[in-house]
Amino acid sequence: MSFTEQEILETVRMFELETLDIRTTTLGINLLDCADPDIESACEKVYAKIVHQARDLVKVGQSITADYGIPIVNKRIAVTPISLVAAACGSDDLVPFARAMDAAAKAVGVDFIGGFTAYVHKGYTNADRALIESIPRALAETDHVCSSISLASTRAGINMDAVGHFSRIVLATAKLTADRGGLGCAKLVCFCNTVEDNPFVAGAHIGIGEGETVLNVGVSGPGVVRSALARLGPDADLLAVAETIKRTAFKITRMGELVGREAARRLGTTFGIVDVSLAPTPAIGDSVSDILELIGAERTGAPGTTAALALLTDAVKKGGAMASSSVGGLSGAFIPVSEDAGMIAAVRDDALSLAKLEAMTAVCSVGLDMVAVPGDTPPATIAGIIADEMAIGMINNKTTAVRIIPVPGKGPGETVEWGGLLGTAIVQDPGKYSCERFYLRGGRIPAPLQGYKN
């Protein structure tokens, strides 16, 4: 036999019992050629081009699953930041673009489309402002559209005016989707050092350096890492833990490499990147929190959690880098609170505070993700939380993000059920002290010394 029995059973176990899957195949589509002074024509082109380019995406995903036996959970689309495409229209209301994207997503049968996006880390264009102002309605009126805003970068610093603006937009989005627990905010994220080939929503979009179309793959598998660590046992030292995670990440990433090559070949497009990110789901065992607890934290949030997460993120990246020359995107470990049953349990048990989460984001691969706060949180406080997160990314030369949901009508400790992949959240207390003065100052936090690398 060309493979040992152990190898075969290991692979089958990963798919059958440990919820290994290809989380997403995301087709990036450049929409710059859809620009038009007439907004109706521009939206017409956006719809037509997305449908034209992505019409086989779902079919190709299904055919790979059928031919290889590898589950591909989601098929998604990422497009050029819409603020660039819409700039020629001069319109103040860019919701029609979101509707066109949504209609196209429905027509081709994908589950999400990302790219209702603007880059304002240094400043605004008129179209950027129009896009950000359109976000609450765009997210309330569509089902599949995701929005992301770049607010900061190591090169540019933090645009605090934009941070303040974004925090008010988050609150407005929550209010418009109050009947669904503020769910619109689950489709809205802001970034420092945004990633232009990210296949995961809500941040998926393709940057202007990308080609006409590109196929990116997101591969996950917290359950596989968790099981590998469980087999390793509690007495192995941390070097053995890191080695086990690295080897497991290698194997997971190889599946992404295979699917990426095959999907790109079948679609006749360029294979962009494999994003190997341990992305938890509410399913039992599919949890990053469980991994941290297996490494040795009694509960996620206990002292040592940040160090354990640093080890995990780094080992995943190293395993990924060995497995594919195309590793990119965010790659590492995600800590979306509501989507991870272990994290929610840790919040419920008062083990995991907002402050500890923020510390963890300094070493995870993204940032504060799917965090619920009270619906009446002042914009200044939300802006402060975002600014802190942006500062961590800016100084550490890493991507950080904030996806925060002010849940209308809920206070600290209350539970909100979003269902599906988005899970359940417990509203967390952002503290009683304000940063109103800091918020009102506005302006820009200049780029740090780390940014001057020429």
Partner: protein, 168 residues
Amino acid sequence: MARRFLTADDVRREHSGSIVVEADTIVTPQAQETARELGKVISTTKGPYVQPTPDRGPDADKARRSLPNLPEPLESDSQATSMIVTAVGKNRPGVLAELTSALAEFHASVHDISQRVVDGYFHLILVVETPQGVGFGTLKQRMECLGGADDYAVRVMHERVFRFMHRV
């Protein structure tokens, strides 16, 4: 560069009753609808308009040429498709016969086999080669219908999955 799009507005502005576009122009659904309403005919320089194949851009051709050059882990010489069938469940007489009979329907040949029974439960691995022309998907579907909830479960995976995961 050819005209990229034809929109409803373009159709309305066109004075002639016949609009000629390039073969790879994307005619929006609204443009097609407007042309129908106004009785205008859209055609291409090469004949009647048909939805073009997607233009994946200038990088795509190069990608198509370079993709096959990426090294495959542990190249296989065989032209046939190999797949690995695993079955797990309660042991009873006839399981192996059921699996191999189904494979025989497709003229697939078993190249290797391994089976263990522990505490009344078995797991079975078959390395199978299917002749060219036999659809992997069809065979997979047939095999995975075998067994049942209280009996045994079959999983069929392409051999390339194992090569990618366990070989470099």
